[in-house]
Amino acid sequence: MSTPAPEDRAPQDRVPEDRKDSMAESAPTSADATADAKRGPSVATRERRQGSINPSGETPYLVVEDLAVKFPTADGLVSAVNGLSYSVPLGRTLAIVGESGSGKSVSSMAVMGLHDRKRTRITGSIRLGGDELVGLPENELMKIRGDAMSMVFQDPQSSLHPLYTIGNQLVEAYRVHHKVSKDVAKKRALEMLDLVGIPNPPRRFSQYPHEFSGGMRQRAMIAMSLINDPKLVIADEPTTALDVTVQAQILDLLNNLQKEFGSAIVLITHDLGVVAEMADDVLVMYAGRCVEYGTAEDVLANPRMPYTWGLLESIPTVSAASERLRPIKGLPPSLLNLPDGCSFSARCPYVERVKGELCTTQLPELLPVDGAGAHTSRCHLHAKASIYEAEVAPRLG
């Protein structure tokens, strides 16, 4: 290879730029990285926040109660979300987990008020900082959306406008909610780009989305969603489109920003690894309903619902020994025609242990697993704790 060392290269070259990027991002310790070449890796630590679902006891910032989202279609009524309740206090992260079609995205789109009003029936209650959002007229909602609550979408490629510069889009997002001049907004936008770790904000400000890499684009999306200091951030699969090393950067960023601003985060994901690393609380959804809800430790280390067990057993992890995976048999039910009783009963290996035909005739309530407490699950099975300890936990290794 005949290319010179990065220090001697022309400025338009890509490599030294990445080098600069990397140096800027890992500042301040590695500011003169070339000098102390034998430095340690940049290391991130994440502490888990302990405690109950609502440690402070105050009214949580976001309270969702008995939310139902239904779409009338030519084939019938699709019940995408049924009787969903959860709450997220400021400073905590709730992860909503489920497979495709479980209603996790639909429910948070409902919180943001992004569904087409003519084609959607939303009932129940969504209270943001005490104010009811369900039934709010569009112009009222527009004042809240992007200001008090905002969303980070999965695919930054398609959720940024390709014909406007990143700076333009940031400035617009700020000026919609603040009566300020373009210069003030620009200053704010540059600040945000810097905050999310985009190197050289003044140059990046006037670039278009296609000039950004995937990770940088997602950083720009995060900058845009945080520009108005929202108290609630909904991140819908924010890292699914990204590579692992970039995913780790983005998750760290979300964590650090939350520490700084104390916002409430709803993280929607299908990746239980991400949940384990990010979430304080976890809500598992299946066929539009919450089937288990509790702190991350409750749900992932002491789960009390066969569907959660099935999910945990079917995932090959980086750290576990290689034994045969135990997939959940069959497919999720159609939302057009949900079965009577428990939606999971058709795939559940424990149905026979419940007396009578309870599982197929009666929908189990979401009840506390130990009689009281905040860890709840929706299952008729008795002695869930002993079944988990005796049968499921050993298989998880």
């Binding site: 070449a37 692992v244 949940v275 079917s314 995932i315 576990a320 290689s322 995976l325 959940i328």
Partner: protein, 339 residues
Amino acid sequence: MSETLLQVRDLKMHFPIKEAAGLGRTKKVVQAVDGVSFELKAGASLGLVGESGCGKSTTGRMITRLLTPTAGEIVFKGTDIAQLKERDLRPFRRQLQIVFQDPYSSLNPRQTVSNIISTPLRVHNLVPKGKELARVQELLERVGLNPEHHNRYPNEFSGGQRQRIGIARALAVEPEVIIADEPVSALDVSIQAQVMNLLEDLRKDLGIAFVFIAHDLGVVRHFCDEVAVMYLGKIVEQGSRDQIYNAPQHPYTQALLSAAPDLGTIRGVPPKERIRLVGDVPSPIDPPSGCRFRTRCWKAEGICATQEPLLEIKPQSSTGHTAACHFAEPKVDLIAETA
């Protein structure tokens, strides 16, 4: 040890691109794969891992000769197939099959399942005319689908079922090697496990060797006995599963393992430190000189920019474990310990 089935030596794929530069046009090349070598033994499974753009899929496509390599050898059972003409290649196509990532775009929506699976049978004259349907039904049953459904179209199946159809199509010609290019990454977790188990059964029952291309380190750990880690068109580290996961030597492998979100962190003991890479992967059009990873590496020194590290066995490593780094040293405790 069983015989070596497939041997890849110094495989390169350079895609020419045209780029406007000033008044004229310059010719540049994307060095998608630049000197990859490995061996695959009969019945074994080799995992190719790396981030997008590292050349893992391109490597898979070259082995199946969907792409013709720029340079290098692909020796399958003693014959170099890297530059063979289409006509001479045909018998080898039967031996080397591929399963694609996206079960939606890799099946022709206008053909019935029976047609999709029996086409390779006809092309290779494997089954007499009247017995095609019986063979198709046998294959459908083998991959866990209802044989009665042979007359349906792909849109009548779910994602997991379509992936099974893709696997049945690959199995139809009784291949010895299957290249599985991210076979489960488009599927939901519960379905992913079903397909993984199917692939594992096929490997055990039929003795098919796999080149398993994936970005999910958990899936690779589960499926492969041997793992090669790729970065910007080169293999940076290669070894057995335990060598790679328990004592990785290359800084990139260490960073990759450390960055993987791990469910084990909540049940077991989380790792004390996590390595975070900064920045993005450089462009393969103009890769860094010397070691390609040096722009993101925390160990990089002067020598890394001038001298390319060779993929070799390091003094401290056990047999068969190679790494391409001037400062390779094993690092343990990167992933959670199970309690």
